[in-house]
């Protein structure tokens, strides 16, 4: 028994090394003083962190990414919260199908989805790049919003709504006065998870961006195609910190069990 446990411990350790090792290496390389990415580093400096702010394309694409993610997030909320509510509260024909449709963007490979968007949003309907990005990102955020909000609705007792209803509140009034305040943390978590999903997205954006308009991760790709300096490593470290911070908040609000249950 004890032997077995030791085996398990070693295995767990290896998994951690495998998962966290690359992140650790990237973090270290970001502090390289020279102008070529290498590990281990020879001199220590913050200069590549400073460099992020000197490359103007990083700033513009960062703004684009933020705008697209926030606007898409808002629309995803406006569509996703009522959808989650309907899916969790009402029984209707085709509910299972609708559920599957809403979840499908998680299951379909991003590259396939990206190509589909390219085919329709860009080629067929010729929408401007911004509009295309906005729609594409809304679609990839929607399932996350629906799933997180649904999971917080599922722990909210339906009879509480009925109580409000019997005290004289209309259906909409009940939703606003009773349901929303009680799934607030779920909605905040949904916003954060969806934001990360959208902000970090490459596979959809790569199809949707075009001349003059790009998102932050795409800009990172473009950058490493031409430069070999550690700027992107520095960016990665910052993104990791932001992500960790967001996930910390989500964990506080909801518990991360959301990611392990289906």
């Amino acid at each position: 028994m004890k032997e077995k446990n030791r085996g398990l411990a070693v295995f767990t350790f290896l998994v951690f090394v495998f998962l966290l090792g690359p992140l650790l290496i990237i973090s270290v390389t970001s502090f390289e003083g020279g102008s070529v990415l290498k590990f281990p580093i020879e001199t220590f400096s913050f200069k590549w962190y400073e460099n992020i702010f000197k490359v103007s394309m990083f700033l513009t694409t960062f703004k684009t990414s933020i705008i697209v993610s926030l606007a898409g997030n808002l629309l995803a909320l406006l569509l996703g919260v009522p959808a989650a509510y309907a899916l969790s509260r009402f029984n209707f024909k085709g509910k299972a199908v609708l559920n599957a449709v809403f979840i499908s963007p998680i299951l379909i490979p991003g590259i396939v989805l990206g190509f589909t968007f390219l085919r329709y949003i860009v080629t067929t309907y010729q929408l401007p790049i911004y509009a295309g990005l906005f729609i594409g990102h809304t679609i990839i955020m929607l399932p996350f919003v629906i799933r997180v909000v649904s999971s917080s609705l599922s722990t909210f007792d339906f009879s509480i709504e009925e109580a409000a209803h019997s005290l004289g509140a209309s259906k909409i009034g009940t939703f606003i006065q009773v349901v929303l305040p009680n799934i607030k943390s779920g909605i905040i978590a949904a916003v954060m998870i969806a934001f990360l999903e959208s902000f970090n997205n490459v596979d959809i954006s790569v199809f949707m961006t075009g001349p003059g308009v790009s998102t932050f991760p795409i800009q990172m790709l473009t950058y490493v195609e031409t430069y070999f300096d550690p700027t992107v490593a520095a960016i990665s470290v910052l993104l990791m910190i932001i992500t960790a911070f967001f996930m910390f908040i989500v964990e506080r609000l909801m518990g991360l069990s959301y990611f392990t249950k289906r």
Binding site: D157, I160, A163, A164, S166, L167
Partner: protein
């Protein structure tokens, strides 16, 4: 005239009828309980009255007006849920004030009414707490206060005490009855606890598979059940299906396999309606065989089959020529298994049911 009436109501889930041609009339100020086994449709009936459920046909009349299509939030009925259903994000004060705010009451009016209703349920001083900071009994009292404060035309309870422990349950039911009588609010109460229903109701409706088998005051139900189902439900464990009956002036004479039974005429045993006799385990008298050699009228010879010690009394299952009977008796020297006995069925304790 009845305050409200359910007329030929039908409710179905997934095309399966739960209530069919359901009828019920309640008079103003009365406390009525719906009592019955699990799944018989008590909650369904209550939710229909509240307006949470729609009927497929039939009518719900309130003060003679057709309320069938009136939505829940326009009915002004108070509903108390089994799991309290308090608003977790609001304080006790705001929970209770919820209905008043929707009715656009003024601030001073809200404060006055909330204070007075919290006093009625003995929760003054708890205004600033949140529901999770209260015990189960306190939460249920908040739920009652929240339903009362809107001065409902009808108060509906769905097993409000079933999540509380036995002691608290007894105190709370006295509270509920006191409040109901003080305010004179017509009340419909659902429970599957018999004692609870009998203790607090003016009228009890015994339900079975979506119909009301009997609707009477508690004592009548307890002593004079009309149907076999009701009798069984309230503890008449023994039944005799008689073959023949003769009606005399004050009594009815019945026979079964050559044994004769006399049953006194009373509130329940009036006509030829019932040919099944029902009697409680406590009311059959058990005697040693040697006292009378042959069994006379209202008597059966038998043999003890099973004996169980119940604490206060013994329970015997006795085998007789017309079937097994269950008898409870307080005895110092109990009968042994296999012992021959005589069972006596007192004429005033047997009830004839359908």
């Amino acid at each position: 005239m009845a305050l409200f009436t359910l007329e030929n109501i039908s409710v179905a889930y997934n095309k399966q009828n739960i209530l069919q041609d359901f009828n019920l009339e309640i008079e103003e100020g009365k406390f009525i309980s719906l009592l019955g086994p699990s799944g018989c449709g008590k909650t369904t009936t209550l939710r229909l009255i509240a307006g949470f459920l729609e009927s497929n046909n039939g009518k719900f009349l309130y003060k003679g007006k057709d309320y069938t299509k009136v939505p829940v939030n326009k009915r002004n009925f108070g509903f108390v849920f089994q799991n309290y259903a308090l608003f977790p994000h609001l304080t006790i004060f705001d929970n209770v004030a919820f209905g008043l705010r929707l009715r656009k009451a003024s601030k001073s009016e809200i404060e006055k009414k909330v204070a007075s209703v919290l006093e009625i349920v003995n929760l003054s001083g708890f205004e600033k707490r949140y529901p999770k900071e209260l015990s189960g009994g306190q939460r249920q009292r908040v739920a009652i206060a929240r339903a009362l404060v809107i001065e409902p035309d009808l108060l509906l309870f769905d097993e409000p005490l079933s999540n509380l422990d036995a002691n608290l349950r007894e105190n709370m039911r006295i509270e509920i009855r006191r409040i109901q009588q003080e305010l004179g609010i017509t009340t419909v109460y659902v429970s599957h606890d018999q004692e609870e229903c009998f203790a607090i109701s003016d009228q009890v409706a015994i339900m079975n598979k979506g119909i009301i088998e009997q609707l009477s005051d508690p004592a009548t139900i307890y002593n004079y059940p009309k149907t076999k189902f009701v009798a069984d439900f309230i503890g008449f464990k023994n039944f005799i299906d008689f073959e023949d009956q003769k009606i005399h002036e004050n009594e009815i004479e019945l026979t079964k396999s050559g044994f004769t039974f006399i049953v006194q005429k009373n509130k329940a045993n009036t006509s030829t309606d019932g040919k099944t006799g029902a009697i409680r385990p406590d009311n059959i008298v058990i005697r040693p065989l040697k006292e009378s050699v042959t069994a006379g009228k209202n008597e059966l010879p038998g043999k003890v089959k099973i004996r169980t010690y119940l604490g206060r009394s013994y329970q015997f299952i006795v085998e007789t020529p017309i079937g097994d009977f269950t008898i409870n008796q307080e005895l110092l020297v109990p009968y042994q298994v296999g012992e021959e006995v005589i069972l006596e069925f007192p004429a005033n304790n047997m009830v004839l049911v359908k």
